[in-house]
Protein backbone atom coordinates (compact mmCIF):
# COMPACT_ATOMS: atom_id res chain seq x y z
CA UNK A 1 0.00 0.00 0.00
CA UNK A 2 1.95 2.84 -1.30
CA UNK A 3 0.55 6.14 -2.46
CA UNK A 4 2.52 8.25 -4.87
CA UNK A 5 1.03 11.67 -4.35
CA UNK A 6 2.43 12.99 -7.59
CA UNK A 7 0.63 10.22 -9.40
CA UNK A 8 -2.48 10.97 -7.39
CA UNK A 9 -2.41 14.59 -8.45
CA UNK A 10 -1.68 13.62 -12.05
CA UNK A 11 -4.52 11.08 -12.01
CA UNK A 12 -6.92 13.69 -10.65
CA UNK A 13 -6.00 15.95 -13.50
CA UNK A 14 -6.17 13.08 -15.93
CA UNK A 15 -9.62 12.14 -14.68
CA UNK A 16 -10.91 15.68 -14.94
CA UNK A 17 -9.49 15.95 -18.44
CA UNK A 18 -11.12 12.66 -19.33
CA UNK A 19 -14.41 13.93 -17.91
CA UNK A 20 -14.17 16.97 -20.12
CA UNK A 21 -13.14 14.93 -23.17
CA UNK A 22 -15.90 12.39 -22.77
CA UNK A 23 -18.43 15.09 -22.10
CA UNK A 24 -17.32 16.77 -25.27
CA UNK A 25 -16.96 13.72 -27.50
CA UNK A 26 -19.29 11.14 -26.01
CA UNK A 27 -22.10 12.19 -23.75
CA UNK A 28 -22.94 15.47 -25.39
CA UNK A 29 -23.13 14.30 -29.02
CA UNK A 30 -24.80 11.00 -28.18
CA UNK A 31 -27.34 12.59 -25.86
CA UNK A 32 -28.08 15.31 -28.40
CA UNK A 33 -28.38 12.75 -31.19
CA UNK A 34 -30.77 10.68 -29.12
CA UNK A 35 -32.76 13.77 -28.19
CA UNK A 36 -32.93 14.78 -31.84
CA UNK A 37 -34.01 11.30 -32.81
CA UNK A 38 -36.67 11.34 -30.14
CA UNK A 39 -37.80 14.71 -31.43
CA UNK A 40 -37.97 13.40 -34.96
CA UNK A 41 -39.79 10.31 -33.82
CA UNK A 42 -42.19 12.51 -31.88
CA UNK A 43 -42.60 14.68 -34.98
CA UNK A 44 -43.24 11.62 -37.07
CA UNK A 45 -45.69 10.26 -34.56
CA UNK A 46 -47.35 13.67 -34.47
CA UNK A 47 -47.49 13.91 -38.24
CA UNK A 48 -48.68 10.32 -38.45
CA UNK A 49 -51.37 11.15 -35.91
CA UNK A 50 -52.34 14.23 -37.91
CA UNK A 51 -52.40 12.19 -41.10
CA UNK A 52 -54.45 9.57 -39.32
CA UNK A 53 -56.87 12.22 -38.14
CA UNK A 54 -57.01 13.69 -41.64
CA UNK A 55 -57.55 10.22 -43.06
CA UNK A 56 -60.24 9.62 -40.46
CA UNK A 57 -61.93 12.90 -41.40
CA UNK A 58 -61.60 12.01 -45.07
CA UNK A 59 -63.00 8.58 -44.35
CA UNK A 60 -65.97 10.07 -42.52
CA UNK A 61 -66.51 12.57 -45.31
CA UNK A 62 -66.43 9.82 -47.91
CA UNK A 63 -68.66 7.70 -45.74
CA UNK A 64 -71.17 10.51 -45.51
CA UNK A 65 -70.97 11.08 -49.22
CA UNK A 66 -71.45 7.39 -49.85
CA UNK A 67 -74.47 7.34 -47.56
CA UNK A 68 -75.81 10.37 -49.36
CA UNK A 69 -75.22 8.74 -52.72
CA UNK A 70 -76.85 5.55 -51.56
CA UNK A 71 -79.86 7.47 -50.37
CA UNK A 72 -79.99 9.34 -53.62
CA UNK A 73 -79.54 6.15 -55.58
CA UNK A 74 -82.42 4.57 -53.68
CA UNK A 75 -84.56 7.61 -54.39
CA UNK A 76 -83.59 7.60 -58.06
CA UNK A 77 -84.22 3.89 -58.29
CA UNK A 78 -87.58 4.32 -56.61
CA UNK A 79 -88.47 7.11 -58.97
CA UNK A 80 -87.30 5.10 -61.96
CA UNK A 81 -89.28 2.13 -60.74
CA UNK A 82 -92.38 4.26 -60.34
CA UNK A 83 -91.86 5.77 -63.76
CA UNK A 84 -91.29 2.33 -65.24
CA UNK A 85 -94.42 1.05 -63.51
CA UNK A 86 -96.38 4.01 -64.83
CA UNK A 87 -94.93 3.53 -68.29
CA UNK A 88 -95.70 -0.15 -68.15
CA UNK A 89 -99.23 0.56 -67.03
CA UNK A 90 -99.60 3.13 -69.78
CA UNK A 91 -98.21 0.76 -72.39
CA UNK A 92 -100.43 -2.03 -71.10
CA UNK A 93 -103.44 0.22 -71.30
CA UNK A 94 -102.40 1.39 -74.72
CA UNK A 95 -101.89 -2.17 -75.83
CA UNK A 96 -105.19 -3.17 -74.28
CA UNK A 97 -106.94 -0.27 -75.94
CA UNK A 98 -105.17 -1.11 -79.17
CA UNK A 99 -106.23 -4.72 -78.86
CA UNK A 100 -109.75 -3.62 -78.00
CA UNK A 101 -109.77 -1.34 -81.04
CA UNK A 102 -108.42 -4.08 -83.24
CA UNK A 103 -110.92 -6.53 -81.84
CA UNK A 104 -113.69 -4.01 -82.23
CA UNK A 105 -112.57 -3.35 -85.78
CA UNK A 106 -112.30 -7.03 -86.45
CA UNK A 107 -115.64 -7.62 -84.84
CA UNK A 108 -117.13 -4.76 -86.81
CA UNK A 109 -115.58 -6.13 -89.94
CA UNK A 110 -116.88 -9.54 -89.02
CA UNK A 111 -120.28 -8.08 -88.37
CA UNK A 112 -120.13 -6.19 -91.62
CA UNK A 113 -119.06 -9.28 -93.46
CA UNK A 114 -121.71 -11.26 -91.67
CA UNK A 115 -124.30 -8.62 -92.45
CA UNK A 116 -123.22 -8.48 -96.02
CA UNK A 117 -123.20 -12.22 -96.25
CA UNK A 118 -126.56 -12.50 -94.57
CA UNK A 119 -127.91 -9.75 -96.72
CA UNK A 120 -126.62 -11.46 -99.78
CA UNK A 121 -127.80 -14.80 -98.46
CA UNK A 122 -131.15 -13.35 -97.70
CA UNK A 123 -131.36 -11.77 -101.07
CA UNK A 124 -130.14 -14.89 -102.82
CA UNK A 125 -132.44 -17.06 -100.73
CA UNK A 126 -135.37 -14.85 -101.40
CA UNK A 127 -134.45 -14.53 -105.02
CA UNK A 128 -133.79 -18.23 -105.32
CA UNK A 129 -136.94 -19.09 -103.55
CA UNK A 130 -138.92 -16.53 -105.52
CA UNK A 131 -137.40 -17.75 -108.74
CA UNK A 132 -138.19 -21.29 -107.70
CA UNK A 133 -141.71 -20.36 -106.71
CA UNK A 134 -142.07 -18.19 -109.74
CA UNK A 135 -140.91 -20.97 -111.97
CA UNK A 136 -143.09 -23.48 -110.20
CA UNK A 137 -146.07 -21.18 -110.27
CA UNK A 138 -145.33 -20.13 -113.82
CA UNK A 139 -145.25 -23.73 -114.71
CA UNK A 140 -148.52 -24.17 -112.84
CA UNK A 141 -149.98 -20.90 -114.13
CA UNK A 142 -152.26 -22.27 -116.65
CA UNK A 143 -155.69 -21.07 -117.60
CA UNK A 144 -157.30 -22.37 -114.49
CA UNK A 145 -154.88 -20.48 -112.25
CA UNK A 146 -155.54 -17.29 -114.20
CA UNK A 147 -159.22 -17.92 -113.80
CA UNK A 148 -158.68 -18.32 -110.12
CA UNK A 149 -156.87 -15.00 -110.09
CA UNK A 150 -159.76 -13.40 -111.86
CA UNK A 151 -162.05 -14.91 -109.30
CA UNK A 152 -159.97 -13.47 -106.52
CA UNK A 153 -160.04 -10.03 -108.11
CA UNK A 154 -163.77 -10.45 -108.60
CA UNK A 155 -164.21 -11.23 -104.90
CA UNK A 156 -162.04 -8.28 -103.90
CA UNK A 157 -163.98 -5.93 -106.08
CA UNK A 158 -167.21 -7.34 -104.70
CA UNK A 159 -165.90 -6.81 -101.19
CA UNK A 160 -165.36 -3.07 -101.81
CA UNK A 161 -167.56 -0.67 -99.96
CA UNK A 162 -169.21 2.17 -101.78
CA UNK A 163 -166.62 4.81 -101.01
CA UNK A 164 -163.81 2.70 -102.24
CA UNK A 165 -165.73 1.67 -105.26
CA UNK A 166 -166.45 5.30 -105.95
CA UNK A 167 -162.82 6.21 -105.67
CA UNK A 168 -161.92 3.51 -108.16
CA UNK A 169 -164.64 4.70 -110.44
CA UNK A 170 -163.46 8.31 -110.29
CA UNK A 171 -159.86 7.40 -110.92
CA UNK A 172 -158.40 9.06 -113.94
CA UNK A 173 -156.32 6.06 -114.76
CA UNK A 174 -157.14 2.49 -114.05
CA UNK A 175 -154.44 -0.03 -114.75
CA UNK A 176 -154.72 -3.79 -114.62
CA UNK A 177 -151.37 -5.41 -114.17
CA UNK A 178 -150.84 -9.06 -114.65
CA UNK A 179 -147.81 -11.18 -114.31
CA UNK A 180 -148.60 -12.93 -117.51
CA UNK A 181 -149.54 -11.80 -120.92
CA UNK A 182 -153.27 -11.58 -121.46
CA UNK A 183 -154.88 -12.84 -124.56
CA UNK A 184 -157.55 -10.71 -126.02
CA UNK A 185 -160.43 -12.85 -124.88
CA UNK A 186 -159.23 -12.90 -121.36
CA UNK A 187 -158.54 -9.20 -121.53
CA UNK A 188 -162.14 -8.70 -122.63
CA UNK A 189 -163.42 -10.95 -119.96
CA UNK A 190 -161.41 -9.05 -117.35
CA UNK A 191 -162.72 -5.73 -118.70
CA UNK A 192 -166.23 -7.07 -118.41
CA UNK A 193 -165.57 -8.10 -114.86
CA UNK A 194 -164.31 -4.67 -113.90
CA UNK A 195 -167.05 -2.85 -115.68
CA UNK A 196 -169.52 -5.15 -113.98
CA UNK A 197 -168.37 -3.91 -110.58
CA UNK A 198 -167.30 -0.34 -111.33
CA UNK A 199 -169.59 0.59 -114.09
CA UNK A 200 -169.51 0.47 -117.78
CA UNK A 201 -167.62 3.70 -118.08
CA UNK A 202 -164.45 2.33 -116.79
CA UNK A 203 -161.71 1.66 -119.31
CA UNK A 204 -158.91 -0.15 -117.76
CA UNK A 205 -155.50 -0.29 -119.36
CA UNK A 206 -153.60 -3.54 -119.34
CA UNK A 207 -149.99 -4.10 -118.79
CA UNK A 208 -147.72 -6.99 -117.93
CA UNK A 209 -145.72 -6.71 -114.72
CA UNK A 210 -143.16 -9.43 -114.03
CA UNK A 211 -142.68 -8.08 -110.53
CA UNK A 212 -145.97 -9.55 -109.51
CA UNK A 213 -144.42 -12.96 -110.06
CA UNK A 214 -147.68 -14.57 -110.24
CA UNK A 215 -150.68 -12.40 -109.67
CA UNK A 216 -152.98 -9.64 -110.70
CA UNK A 217 -153.32 -6.04 -109.54
CA UNK A 218 -155.80 -3.22 -110.14
CA UNK A 219 -154.26 0.18 -109.55
CA UNK A 220 -156.15 3.46 -109.53
CA UNK A 221 -154.58 6.74 -108.44
CA UNK A 222 -152.59 5.11 -105.67
CA UNK A 223 -155.29 2.71 -104.69
CA UNK A 224 -154.60 -0.87 -105.36
CA UNK A 225 -156.38 -4.17 -105.30
CA UNK A 226 -154.08 -7.10 -105.84
CA UNK A 227 -153.39 -10.66 -105.33
CA UNK A 228 -149.83 -11.71 -105.96
CA UNK A 229 -147.44 -14.39 -105.03
CA UNK A 230 -144.88 -11.61 -104.70
CA UNK A 231 -146.73 -10.40 -101.59
CA UNK A 232 -146.45 -13.83 -100.09
CA UNK A 233 -142.85 -14.00 -101.12
CA UNK A 234 -142.19 -10.59 -99.59
CA UNK A 235 -143.84 -11.70 -96.36
CA UNK A 236 -141.84 -14.87 -96.41
CA UNK A 237 -138.68 -12.92 -97.03
CA UNK A 238 -139.49 -10.60 -94.16
CA UNK A 239 -140.00 -13.51 -91.82
CA UNK A 240 -136.82 -15.19 -93.01
CA UNK A 241 -134.83 -12.00 -92.56
CA UNK A 242 -136.28 -11.44 -89.13
CA UNK A 243 -135.37 -14.97 -88.18
CA UNK A 244 -131.83 -14.64 -89.49
CA UNK A 245 -131.41 -11.29 -87.67
CA UNK A 246 -132.50 -12.85 -84.45
CA UNK A 247 -130.04 -15.70 -84.87
CA UNK A 248 -127.28 -13.19 -85.57
CA UNK A 249 -128.08 -11.19 -82.43
CA UNK A 250 -128.05 -14.33 -80.35
CA UNK A 251 -124.65 -15.37 -81.71
CA UNK A 252 -123.31 -11.82 -81.15
CA UNK A 253 -124.45 -11.87 -77.52
CA UNK A 254 -122.76 -15.24 -76.93
CA UNK A 255 -119.56 -13.93 -78.47
CA UNK A 256 -119.48 -10.78 -76.32
CA UNK A 257 -119.95 -12.90 -73.18
CA UNK A 258 -116.99 -15.05 -74.23
CA UNK A 259 -114.91 -11.89 -74.80
CA UNK A 260 -115.76 -10.56 -71.33
CA UNK A 261 -114.65 -13.80 -69.75
CA UNK A 262 -111.40 -13.71 -71.71
CA UNK A 263 -110.67 -10.11 -70.60
CA UNK A 264 -111.30 -11.00 -66.98
CA UNK A 265 -108.81 -13.85 -67.32
CA UNK A 266 -106.24 -11.47 -68.83
CA UNK A 267 -106.64 -8.89 -66.04
CA UNK A 268 -106.24 -11.58 -63.40
CA UNK A 269 -103.03 -12.74 -65.08
CA UNK A 270 -101.69 -9.15 -65.26
CA UNK A 271 -102.40 -8.34 -61.62
Amino acid sequence: MQIDWLTVAAQIVNFLVLVWLLKHFLYGPVTRAMARREERIAERVQSAREREEAAERERERLHERMDHLEDRRDAVLEQAREEADGEKQRLLEEARADVDDKREQWRQQLRDEQDAFLKQLRRQTAEGFAALARKALSDLADVRLEDRMFDTLDKQLAGLDDDERQQFRNARELVVSTSFALEDDRRGRLRDLIQQHLGDGTKPDFEQDKALVCGIALTADGRRLAWSLADYLDGFERKLTAHLDQRQRESADTESETDTDTERGKEAATS
Partner: protein, 238 residues
Protein backbone atom coordinates in the same frame (compact mmCIF):
# COMPACT_ATOMS: atom_id res chain seq x y z
CA UNK B 1 6.79 -9.30 -8.34
CA UNK B 2 5.36 -5.96 -9.29
CA UNK B 3 2.38 -5.12 -7.14
CA UNK B 4 1.61 -1.61 -8.41
CA UNK B 5 2.25 -0.01 -11.81
CA UNK B 6 3.39 3.05 -9.87
CA UNK B 7 6.63 1.31 -9.30
CA UNK B 8 7.39 1.02 -13.01
CA UNK B 9 8.96 4.35 -13.78
CA UNK B 10 9.23 5.07 -17.48
CA UNK B 11 10.74 8.54 -17.37
CA UNK B 12 12.22 10.60 -14.63
CA UNK B 13 13.55 14.13 -14.36
CA UNK B 14 14.38 15.13 -10.89
CA UNK B 15 11.39 14.50 -8.68
CA UNK B 16 9.15 14.53 -11.76
CA UNK B 17 8.56 11.06 -13.18
CA UNK B 18 6.16 9.25 -15.41
CA UNK B 19 5.21 5.76 -14.32
CA UNK B 20 3.18 2.97 -15.94
CA UNK B 21 0.02 4.11 -14.16
CA UNK B 22 0.07 7.45 -15.89
CA UNK B 23 1.10 5.95 -19.21
CA UNK B 24 -1.70 3.40 -19.19
CA UNK B 25 -4.14 6.05 -18.02
CA UNK B 26 -3.21 8.21 -20.98
CA UNK B 27 -3.57 5.20 -23.24
CA UNK B 28 -7.07 4.61 -21.92
CA UNK B 29 -7.91 8.28 -22.29
CA UNK B 30 -6.64 8.21 -25.84
CA UNK B 31 -8.63 5.09 -26.64
CA UNK B 32 -11.84 6.42 -25.19
CA UNK B 33 -11.51 9.87 -26.69
CA UNK B 34 -10.47 8.62 -30.10
CA UNK B 35 -13.17 5.98 -30.16
CA UNK B 36 -15.82 8.46 -29.12
CA UNK B 37 -14.67 11.04 -31.60
CA UNK B 38 -14.56 8.52 -34.46
CA UNK B 39 -18.07 7.39 -33.74
CA UNK B 40 -19.70 10.66 -32.78
CA UNK B 41 -18.35 12.73 -35.67
CA UNK B 42 -20.87 11.00 -37.94
CA UNK B 43 -23.90 10.60 -35.74
CA UNK B 44 -27.17 9.70 -37.33
CA UNK B 45 -30.41 11.11 -36.02
CA UNK B 46 -32.53 8.97 -38.27
CA UNK B 47 -33.82 5.49 -37.65
CA UNK B 48 -30.75 3.92 -39.33
CA UNK B 49 -27.70 4.01 -37.05
CA UNK B 50 -24.27 2.40 -37.16
CA UNK B 51 -23.28 -0.45 -34.83
CA UNK B 52 -20.73 1.68 -32.98
CA UNK B 53 -23.22 4.48 -32.48
CA UNK B 54 -25.67 1.88 -31.27
CA UNK B 55 -23.07 0.63 -28.78
CA UNK B 56 -22.36 4.13 -27.47
CA UNK B 57 -26.07 4.89 -27.26
CA UNK B 58 -26.63 1.68 -25.29
CA UNK B 59 -23.81 2.63 -22.90
CA UNK B 60 -25.00 6.23 -22.48
CA UNK B 61 -28.66 5.22 -22.13
CA UNK B 62 -27.69 2.55 -19.56
CA UNK B 63 -25.70 5.09 -17.55
CA UNK B 64 -28.51 7.62 -17.65
CA UNK B 65 -31.03 5.00 -16.58
CA UNK B 66 -28.81 3.85 -13.71
CA UNK B 67 -28.25 7.43 -12.54
CA UNK B 68 -31.96 8.13 -12.76
CA UNK B 69 -32.81 4.97 -10.84
CA UNK B 70 -30.32 5.69 -8.05
CA UNK B 71 -30.77 9.45 -7.68
CA UNK B 72 -34.42 9.73 -8.76
CA UNK B 73 -33.32 12.90 -10.51
CA UNK B 74 -32.63 13.88 -14.07
CA UNK B 75 -29.25 12.36 -14.98
CA UNK B 76 -28.03 15.34 -17.04
CA UNK B 77 -25.73 17.06 -14.48
CA UNK B 78 -24.31 13.81 -13.05
CA UNK B 79 -23.70 11.94 -16.27
CA UNK B 80 -20.24 13.32 -17.17
CA UNK B 81 -18.79 12.68 -13.74
CA UNK B 82 -20.40 9.37 -12.79
CA UNK B 83 -20.36 8.11 -16.36
CA UNK B 84 -16.69 8.84 -16.75
CA UNK B 85 -15.96 7.06 -13.49
CA UNK B 86 -17.67 3.95 -14.78
CA UNK B 87 -16.29 4.10 -18.30
CA UNK B 88 -12.73 4.74 -17.16
CA UNK B 89 -12.69 2.05 -14.49
CA UNK B 90 -14.47 -0.46 -16.72
CA UNK B 91 -12.11 0.14 -19.63
CA UNK B 92 -9.12 0.02 -17.35
CA UNK B 93 -10.26 -3.29 -15.91
CA UNK B 94 -11.37 -4.87 -19.19
CA UNK B 95 -8.00 -4.20 -20.81
CA UNK B 96 -6.37 -6.64 -18.38
CA UNK B 97 -6.89 -9.31 -21.03
CA UNK B 98 -4.18 -7.56 -23.05
CA UNK B 99 -0.77 -9.08 -22.27
CA UNK B 100 1.74 -6.95 -20.34
CA UNK B 101 -1.01 -4.48 -19.56
CA UNK B 102 -1.27 -3.32 -15.99
CA UNK B 103 -4.56 -1.65 -14.99
CA UNK B 104 -4.16 1.85 -13.54
CA UNK B 105 -6.97 0.97 -11.16
CA UNK B 106 -4.60 -1.54 -9.60
CA UNK B 107 -2.68 1.44 -8.31
CA UNK B 108 -3.74 2.87 -4.98
CA UNK B 109 -2.72 6.28 -6.27
CA UNK B 110 -5.30 6.10 -9.05
CA UNK B 111 -8.09 4.83 -6.82
CA UNK B 112 -7.20 7.46 -4.22
CA UNK B 113 -7.35 10.12 -6.89
CA UNK B 114 -10.76 8.89 -8.00
CA UNK B 115 -11.99 8.70 -4.42
CA UNK B 116 -10.75 12.22 -3.78
CA UNK B 117 -12.65 13.35 -6.85
CA UNK B 118 -15.80 11.75 -5.40
CA UNK B 119 -15.03 13.31 -2.02
CA UNK B 120 -14.86 16.68 -3.69
CA UNK B 121 -17.78 16.11 -6.01
CA UNK B 122 -20.27 15.23 -3.26
CA UNK B 123 -20.16 18.64 -1.50
CA UNK B 124 -19.73 20.37 -4.84
CA UNK B 125 -22.95 18.93 -6.24
CA UNK B 126 -24.64 19.50 -2.88
CA UNK B 127 -23.63 23.14 -2.79
CA UNK B 128 -24.53 23.64 -6.45
CA UNK B 129 -27.90 22.09 -5.83
CA UNK B 130 -28.86 23.59 -2.51
CA UNK B 131 -26.36 26.29 -1.68
CA UNK B 132 -23.48 26.20 0.81
CA UNK B 133 -25.58 26.69 3.94
CA UNK B 134 -28.13 24.15 2.89
CA UNK B 135 -25.42 21.61 2.24
CA UNK B 136 -23.38 22.25 5.37
CA UNK B 137 -26.43 22.10 7.56
CA UNK B 138 -26.73 18.35 7.08
CA UNK B 139 -23.45 17.79 8.96
CA UNK B 140 -25.11 18.99 12.15
CA UNK B 141 -28.27 17.00 11.68
CA UNK B 142 -30.06 15.69 13.63
CA UNK B 143 -27.85 17.30 16.36
CA UNK B 144 -24.54 19.17 16.25
CA UNK B 145 -23.13 16.25 18.24
CA UNK B 146 -23.22 14.22 15.02
CA UNK B 147 -20.77 16.56 13.27
CA UNK B 148 -17.60 14.56 14.01
CA UNK B 149 -19.28 11.30 13.10
CA UNK B 150 -20.57 12.75 9.88
CA UNK B 151 -17.12 14.00 9.00
CA UNK B 152 -15.53 10.67 9.89
CA UNK B 153 -18.15 8.88 7.84
CA UNK B 154 -17.44 11.11 4.89
CA UNK B 155 -13.73 10.39 5.05
CA UNK B 156 -13.99 6.71 5.81
CA UNK B 157 -16.30 6.00 2.91
CA UNK B 158 -13.87 7.78 0.63
CA UNK B 159 -11.04 5.63 1.93
CA UNK B 160 -13.28 2.60 1.55
CA UNK B 161 -13.99 3.53 -2.07
CA UNK B 162 -10.30 3.82 -2.86
CA UNK B 163 -9.19 0.73 -1.04
CA UNK B 164 -12.08 -1.43 -2.29
CA UNK B 165 -11.31 -0.80 -5.92
CA UNK B 166 -7.56 -0.96 -5.44
CA UNK B 167 -7.77 -4.14 -3.41
CA UNK B 168 -10.01 -5.94 -5.86
CA UNK B 169 -8.06 -5.07 -8.95
CA UNK B 170 -4.63 -5.41 -7.39
CA UNK B 171 -5.57 -8.75 -5.89
CA UNK B 172 -6.79 -9.95 -9.26
CA UNK B 173 -3.50 -9.01 -10.85
CA UNK B 174 -1.53 -10.49 -8.00
CA UNK B 175 -3.54 -13.74 -8.05
CA UNK B 176 -2.98 -14.15 -11.76
CA UNK B 177 0.72 -13.41 -11.28
CA UNK B 178 1.01 -15.99 -8.51
CA UNK B 179 -1.02 -18.59 -10.41
CA UNK B 180 1.12 -18.17 -13.51
CA UNK B 181 4.15 -19.11 -11.45
CA UNK B 182 2.37 -22.08 -9.87
CA UNK B 183 0.10 -23.47 -12.61
CA UNK B 184 1.04 -21.71 -15.80
CA UNK B 185 -1.67 -23.36 -17.95
CA UNK B 186 -5.43 -22.90 -18.04
CA UNK B 187 -6.03 -21.88 -14.46
CA UNK B 188 -4.74 -18.31 -14.84
CA UNK B 189 -7.12 -17.90 -17.77
CA UNK B 190 -10.07 -18.83 -15.60
CA UNK B 191 -8.91 -16.41 -12.95
CA UNK B 192 -8.41 -13.75 -15.57
CA UNK B 193 -11.99 -14.27 -16.78
CA UNK B 194 -13.08 -14.00 -13.20
CA UNK B 195 -11.00 -10.84 -13.01
CA UNK B 196 -12.91 -9.37 -15.96
CA UNK B 197 -16.17 -10.02 -14.16
CA UNK B 198 -14.76 -8.57 -10.93
CA UNK B 199 -13.46 -5.55 -12.82
CA UNK B 200 -16.86 -4.80 -14.35
CA UNK B 201 -18.57 -5.29 -11.00
CA UNK B 202 -16.08 -2.97 -9.31
CA UNK B 203 -16.56 -0.31 -11.96
CA UNK B 204 -20.30 -0.54 -11.47
CA UNK B 205 -19.96 -0.47 -7.67
CA UNK B 206 -17.63 2.52 -7.71
CA UNK B 207 -19.86 4.54 -10.04
CA UNK B 208 -23.08 3.63 -8.26
CA UNK B 209 -21.63 4.34 -4.83
CA UNK B 210 -20.37 7.72 -6.03
CA UNK B 211 -23.83 8.46 -7.35
CA UNK B 212 -25.43 7.27 -4.12
CA UNK B 213 -23.20 9.58 -2.09
CA UNK B 214 -23.94 12.53 -4.34
CA UNK B 215 -27.66 11.78 -4.49
CA UNK B 216 -28.00 11.07 -0.77
CA UNK B 217 -26.37 14.38 0.03
CA UNK B 218 -28.68 16.35 -2.26
CA UNK B 219 -31.81 14.36 -1.39
CA UNK B 220 -31.03 14.62 2.37
CA UNK B 221 -30.86 18.36 1.95
CA UNK B 222 -34.07 18.36 0.07
CA UNK B 223 -35.84 16.24 2.67
CA UNK B 224 -34.56 18.43 5.51
CA UNK B 225 -35.55 21.56 3.59
CA UNK B 226 -38.98 20.19 2.91
CA UNK B 227 -39.26 19.18 6.60
CA UNK B 228 -38.32 22.69 7.70
CA UNK B 229 -40.68 24.21 5.17
CA UNK B 230 -43.63 22.13 6.30
CA UNK B 231 -42.84 22.87 9.91
CA UNK B 232 -42.66 26.56 9.14
CA UNK B 233 -46.01 26.37 7.43
CA UNK B 234 -47.46 24.61 10.46
CA UNK B 235 -46.12 27.38 12.71
CA UNK B 236 -47.44 29.99 10.41
CA UNK B 237 -50.84 28.41 10.45
CA UNK B 238 -50.77 28.32 14.23
Amino acid sequence: MTISPDQIVLWQWGWLHINATLAYTWLIMLLLTLGSWLVTRRLSTGPEISRWQNLLEVVVTGLRDQIRDVSRQEPGPYLPFVGTLFVFIATSNLLTIVPWYLPPTGSLSTTTALALCVLTAVPLYGVLKRGAVGYLRHYVQPTPLMLPFNLIGELSRTVALAVRLYGNIMSGTVIVGILISLTPFLFPIVMQLLGLLTGMIQAYIFAVLAMVYIASASSAHRQSDEGLGSRGEENGSD
